[in-house]
Symmetry: C2
């Protein structure tokens, strides 16, 4: 279909030189006369010569390509940060003229086979994986294969590989402390299934902070829900149905928190006044929720670049354990956090429910 690109062979023929010489001239070898180097370079530019990368990479023995293993989309929410992540990865790789291959397994069962195929086929020289499980078989596989990789996120034991993560535990300590400082003592946690480490981290932070503040750890106040707005709404409804409902809720994500807000509004409760809600992520969209969502905003801008730089360094031979970066989330106060209302107001909440 497309016209054939010019090869080294035709370029060499055009110049009356051998392909070896032309190749060395183009690749800046020292043992080429300045005159022919110039001649070769101008001819290459004129003819629009670009080395065939498949050939080049076969020859040098490196795919000069890194793979990103896309997490499977859960029907409910789209990956909010994926575009930014890919752009950052692309920037880091681009500095060295490496390529970015984006793949996803057909099913989660196939994921290990998918990775092994990818590694063995020589298409990539390193891999970026994200959203690790607590004990992620992908990480074990890659370690067994001794294949360079970095993880966006962490697992329970994460000493011996490279990762970039935001400290979810710290974030939820901060969120709970903030609510305690506002006078709250019945603070609930709406989380997601604990197979993912990030879900566990955030729950840990919640529990740590509750205890550190001398509050009782009421198991009723810990709700594990579907990781979506609907999940957040259902969990919050459960919480509000208790005899002693919480006066504040920390949610594992902004999306889940939006569901919590919906549950509150549906009962005529005012988020940030009657019940406080804090999300996690810092999505821009939280500015436009009803009311604007207070959240733990994670610094997301550099994740892609950092992961890309790390991976290249590891491929160059760095010890993966050298490359571990933990960022902190920051409290972003908008309108859904507020001081505890007086006892009377709390009673009103309970009453209102009974009426419903």
């Amino acid at each position: 279909m497309s016209s054939k690109p010019v090869s080294l062979k035709v370029l060499a023929a055009h110049l009356g030189l051998t392909v070896g010489t032309v190749s060395r001239a183009l690749n800046g070898y020292a043992d080429i006369s300045p005159a022919t180097r110039k001649r070769v370079q101008t001819a290459a530019k004129e003819l629009g010569y670009r080395p065939n990368q498949n050939a080049r990479r076969l020859s040098i023995g490196s795919p000069e390509t890194v793979g990103y293993l896309m997490p499977r989309l859960n029907h409910s929410g789209s990956q909010p940060f994926i575009a930014q992540l890919l752009q950052g990865l692309g920037e880091a790789l681009g500095k060295r003229h490496w390529d970015l291959l984006v793949t996803h397994a057909d099913s989660s069962q196939d994921e290990l086979a998918h990775i092994e195929r990818l590694v063995r086929s020589g298409r990539v020289g390193g891999l970026v994986i994200s959203r690790p499980l607590k004990n992620d078989p992908r990480i074990r596989l890659l370690q067994d294969l001794k294949f360079p990789f970095v993880v966006h996120g962490r697992t329970a034991s994460c000493d011996n590989y490279a990762w970039y993560d935001v400290d979810g535990e710290d974030a939820f300590v901060t969120a709970v402390n903030h609510l305690v400082a506002l006078g709250h003592s019945r603070i609930a946690f709406v989380g997601a299934p604990l197979q993912h480490q990030f879900a566990q981290d955030r729950l840990n932070g919640y529990q740590t902070a509750i205890k550190a503040n001398g509050l009782p750890l009421d198991p009723d106040l810990i709700q594990i829900a579907e990781f979506s707005d609907d999940g957040g709404e259902m969990a919050t409804n459960l919480l509000l149905d208790f005899a002693q409902p919480p006066t504040a809720v920390v949610c594992i994500s902004d999306t889940v928190a939006l569901g919590a807000l919906a549950a509150l509004r549906a009962r005529g409760l005012r988020p940030g006044i009657d019940v406080s809600v804090i999300g996690y992520d810092g999505l821009k969209f939280g500015n436009h929720s009803n009311p604007p969502l207070t959240t733990m905003a994670q610094p997301q801008a550099h994740a892609g670049r950092r992961l890309g730089d790390m991976l290249l360094a590891i491929i160059d031979g760095d010890d993966p354990a050298m490359h571990q970066e933990l960022q902190r989330a920051q409290l972003l106060r908008r309108k859904t956090d507020g001081p505890l209302h007086c006892a009377k107001a709390q009673q009103d909440i309970s009453k209102r429910e009974e009426i419903q």
Copy 2:
């Protein structure tokens, strides 16, 4: 770093065969005895043999890879659909074991050079580009190079290449008609700079519908703003400052519409009651805005798959002009559209503004 993958050579040696024979056995050539075919297959599985794709692709003369040219992120809004699009592309390509390469130009000036490099280097056999300009030089370049490509979106003249798009003009006709049916006659349009064709299409739809309904085309009611929530807010403030403000606003995107809602709320105007607002995109997040956003929802689920299938067909030799698919957006009524209020209410709006 990683242990070397087994090559065809070691597999052949292991079996006491030549590489040619082993290759043919693995690739299902007919002239191989069933016995050795079996023997080869089991040995390949045992040793975990995977053909080196760089070598294979060099040999067969196809990169078996397609490139996706990421649009540059505008600081303000993230690409909401990009993850879905990539997943869909990956599915379509995966059926044929093609790979997906994701790239972005360092700057918009470099984009043409970037494409040319990509094409000439033989890394990809086809390209997906998105968000075309009205008269997009990338498309001309790819046509000149006679290189297979598909466009997510359309340009002004789009007869002679392949594209997948949602009919923005139709969507805005639908939105305006809906508002007219609700009794509105002063309907504004908040758009974005017109270099992108989609911005023009949506404006065209607005204008077409205004005229078709026998309404005057008031240039004041067309506001071209920054493509962001802030842009939408500023534009809406301008509209509300007019002596005769609009009673309804159609916005070029959900994000812009969120800004419009913010502007209304800031003035104490109730979206959907005092002033109607309709967005475009159908973001899930619109369920949680204040109030939930009425929008023209575009069917996004199949875009990636369709674009991938089209591109593969074109690479196989199909005429690109055969592959043009126009989808329609659907009105998704939530809470920001409503009937025109009586004259008195309208006066109140004007008054309220004068007070501010």
